[in-house]
Subunit: 206 residues, 2 copies
């Protein structure tokens, strides 16, 4: 990403990207700011303001050209900077994330999963293999992976995080409900489902 874009704008740009992709699948050549705004229940002017952050906005006679708009969002959000990652924990959440095809489109390549359950080792999920966790240090080095998506059960979260850090992982996207202890040079991004829910519940539900 060339410029620093506020978090909420990044979020909206990914939604615009989804809607525009859908329009392209339906062979629609144009999209208007009202069509985008209506779908997200926001104001037209918000959409136009967000688009000022795009490198080129791809405006055409009737609204925006869907193809150009999609490309510009991808360029602005840096989808082409490919990053390799491992999923650590092949439970329901790990498997759900391994099957989440959108990661690929957005520049996140999940190369493999890791678990300690012998029954899961060597299984394939969405063309990604599940390895024993003991193989992680070797594969992280070999495949040059420094991002791990952590989806192990809560009681193991800290121990597994420590092991990842020893194995050369520098970025942990933490889906466990633990707040991990990590040295300062390790970046931990806590995915906070409960905060999302509380926001939703407080804002919208009387």
């Amino acid at each position: 990403m060339a410029k620093k874009i506020p978090e909420k704008v990044v979020s909206r740009l990914t939604f615009y990207h989804s809607i525009v992709s859908e329009f392209i699948e339906q062979n629609k050549k144009n999209i208007t700011s009202s069509q985008l705004a209506q779908r997200l229940n926001i104001d037209d002017s918000q959409v136009r303001k967000d688009f000022k952050l795009l490198n080129e906005v791809g405006r055409c006679r009737v609204g925006y050209c869907t193809k150009d708009l999609k490309e510009n969002i991808e360029k602005t959000l840096g989808f082409s900077n490919k990053r390799n990652a491992f999923i650590v924990g092949a439970g329901h959440l790990g498997l759900a994330l391994a099957k989440y095809d959108k990661f690929d489109n957005y520049g996140l390549n999940i190369l493999a999963l890791f678990d300690n359950d012998p029954l899961k080792i060597d299984m394939q999920i969405n063309e990604k293999k599940i390895y024993h966790i003991a193989k992680l240090p070797e594969l992280a080095c070999e495949l040059n992976v420094d991002i791990a998506i952590l989806t192990v059960p809560k009681p193991f979260a800290q121990d597994v995080a420590d092991f990842l850090i020893e194995s050369g992982i520098r970025y942990i996207w933490n889906f466990t409900p633990c707040v991990l202890n990590a040295p300062e040079h390790i970046k931990v991004w806590n995915e906070n489902l409960m905060a999302s829910f509380l926001q939703f519940a407080c804002k919208e539900i009387d």
Copy 2:
């Protein structure tokens, strides 16, 4: 929630809550703002500023009393306002969310799951039963549920959302990668994993 609390503060309060709960489990009676700050890699002063939003801060001789602090965060974030919800889609993500015990603590009661796969119907997951989706309108009415957590595969997302709305669901927490079409009186909260990742990737990874 009595006062309007900014999104980022809600997020941090839930993290403080996790850390304080862990201290209580370890029988620790006190916690300092530095202990909280260090764990989240933020500044002490941020923690103290956030605590000004709590109803009572539970300050004691050495930092804060863990028990009081936990209760105050719960009160401030309204964890005691119980809300009932259904999970719609019993794939990996639906099952992962059904097993996410934290929802209970935070006031979200998942009462049941729904799917259309005959092999899954009547299975139990974390003491919650999976019903055929056709049963949803009746059960939503009977159990007074108007929140649905949508975790079906992308191609079915819009049709299932339409069905939920016809069935009396008014709040949809959307985990599918679709931006749903919904009438204005229906509140849709789009969980945006990709935006999280892009934030993480842009801020932290060179």
